[in-house]
């Protein structure tokens, strides 16, 4: 039911871990539904994302989308990263099973939360 890309990202997830003194951290989901994603971003003075890491509790789709989103954002500007949607993440993985599209496809949301966290820190 999962695509080869999902299986690949799920079995060899990229960028697992935390970033100490991250520029922004975002978390979405809750334990009740069985998915929690936390994304850490390192952003330089030109608003370019230089590093991204994640920690995820969840099913195969949750882990694969988290892994994919970190790959997608590294090297992008904050503005560009805001434009990456959950749907785009799923497409980058050649799609997800229908049931997983809304329940486990939250990685872009977590990344956006991390961006907002960065913006608010920067603003203050």
């Amino acid at each position: 039911m999962y695509t080869e890309k999902v299986i690949d990202h799920f079995s060899n997830p990229r960028n697992v871990g935390e970033i100490e003194e991250a520029s922004g951290v975002g978390e979405v989901g809750n334990v009740k539904c069985g998915d929690i994603m936390r994304v850490y971003l390192k952003i330089d003075e030109n608003d370019v994302i230089t590093d991204a890491k994640f920690k995820t509790f969840g099913c195969g789709a949750a882990i694969a989308t988290s892994s994919m989103v970190t790959e997608l954002v590294i090297g992008k500007t904050v503005e560009e990263a805001f434009k990456i949607t959950n749907k785009a993440v799923a497409e980058a993985l050649d799609g997800l099973p229908p049931l997983k599209m809304h329940c486990s496809n939250l990685a872009a949301d977590a990344m956006h939360e991390a961006l907002k966290d960065y913006m608010s820190k920067k603003g203050s």
């Binding site: 999962y2 299986i7 799920f10 079995s11 997830p13 697992v16 978390e27 334990v31 009740k32 539904c33 069985g34 998915d35 929690i36 994603m37 936390r38 920690k55 995820t56 509790f57 969840g58 099913c59 195969g60 789709a61 949750a62 882990i63 049931l99 997983k100 329940c103 486990s104």
Partner: protein
């Protein structure tokens, strides 16, 4: 290394025994008659049908005339509950069951509730065991049926069936048990256990899918729920699935002859898994009763990780298992069984069920025990819920389970 292909999901379904498959084929190609026909082809089929009825009856110490062949566990459960309820409407409208039944029971009871029946769903303790006092207290003048599963399909807990049968008999209430998981894995004697109705399913004991039976004690009348020809004593209309029935008969014989060895072998493998996992992996909980459980079934909750990701990792290593996690159930909620046992959502999401069967070996178990710590470790390191410093607290298990 050669890719493993290990099947630890016998509670979902089993492979058809090769002798059973061979016999089924014979009754599809050569001996294909309709058991209702009077010619030689029909008589041959009829004879095989009655032989299978004897074989199935013998497995549970019933009489052949007490066996009705159905299309599986789900149909047997439907027939038992609706058949008794509709027949006894004038006597009463109350049914007692439990919170951990299979959906074939729970959804049938919901249907009966929509049609005027009242149902008490007994709670279970942390080991998935019902309490006999609760059962006695739930009985009213209106109670016509008690339906409690023999062994649970997710956590393996075996209920005190003989005691339940005794209570039912004392109160003159019919007792049905869904024994789909217990058949071929437990000693079952419907006489000694005072069971009035019992459901079974062929594909859980090395026979084909779409086969099943309902035992109905002599003298217990049930209403038909499927109407048509005069098959199965007018209780279950439809041309009998002779290949399936003949196969299930042979499977029942094989199960009966090997039952003691089967239980002994599987219990040994099961206990090895339980003892090793509990000793070697921190923050893990065994779900279900430690001893009163199906011989081949284990169910664990691994804190901080989610069941589906665990299953996928096992699958990549060549092991087929299952989980009570929401992601694998097709709904947003984790298993109703685990929640009824008092597990929180997080712990229920992290459950893993292994159900061993006839062909599994100790070597396969050892391979599983060798690779599982690494998988758990990898997933925990990925989990935002996992903070290794928490684990050092004096009683790690309670600590995590109660988070």
């Amino acid at each position: 290394m050669e890719k493993k292909n290990i099947y630890f999901d016998h509670s979902a379904t089993t492979q058809v025994d090769s002798a059973v498959a061979k016999k089924m084929l014979e009754y599809m190609t050569d001996k294909f008659g309709n058991a209702s026909s009077i010619h030689s082809f029909g008589r041959e089929a009829k004879k095989a049908l009655e032989e299978a009825r004897k074989q199935v009856a013998r497995l549970i110490n019933a009489e052949p005339t007490e066996i009705i062949f159905t299309s599986g566990g789900t149909e047997s459960d439907n027939l038992a509950l609706k058949g008794i309820a509709l027949r006894n409407r004038k006597k009463g409208n109350h049914i007692i069951s439990s919170q951990i039944e299979h959906h074939a029971i729970l959804h049938t009871l919901e249907y009966l509730e929509e049609n005027g029946f009242k149902v008490t769903y007994l709670p279970v303790d942390e080991n998935a065991m019902i309490n006999l006092e609760d059962l006695k207290n739930a009985i009213t003048d209106e109670t016509i049926l008690i339906s409690i599963m023999f062994a649970n399909n997710e956590v393996g807990t075996i209920q005190p069936i003989k005691e339940i049968g005794k209570i039912a008999k004392e109160h003159d209430i019919y007792f049905h048990t869904d024994a789909v998981q217990a058949i071929g894995n437990c000693h079952i004697d419907v006489r000694e256990m005072n069971i009035d109705l019992l459901s079974m399913s062929g594909h859980k004991f090395y026979s084909s899918k779409g086969t099943g039976a309902l035992y109905v004690r002599k003298g217990v009348r049930i209403e038909a729920i499927q109407h048509g020809g005069a098959h199965e004593r007018n209780i279950r209309a439809g041309t009998e699935n002779i290949p399936g029935i003949v196969g299930m008969g042979l499977a029942a014989d094989i199960a009966r002859v090997n039952l003691d060895d089967h239980i002994k072998n599987l219990t040994k493998l099961r206990d090895k898994i339980i003892d090793t996992i509990l000793a070697e992996i921190p923050s893990v909980k065994l779900n279900g009763h430690r001893t009163q459980r199906l011989p081949g079934l284990v169910n664990f909750s691994f804190s901080f990780i989610e069941g589906e990701s665990l299953l996928l990792n096992l699958d990549l290593k060549g092991i087929a298992a299952s989980s009570g996690s929401a992601c694998t159930s097709g709904s947003l909620d984790p298993s109703h069984v685990l929640l009824s046992m008092g597990l929180n959502h997080e712990t229920a999401h992290g459950s893993l069920r292994l159900s061993l069967g006839r062909h599994n070996t100790e070597e396969e178990v050892d391979y599983f025990l060798e690779i599982i710590p690494e998988i758990i470790d990898k997933l925990r390191k990925m989990s935002p819920l996992y903070n290794p410093s928490d684990i050092k607290v004096s009683n790690p298990c309670d600590q995590c389970i109660n988070r």
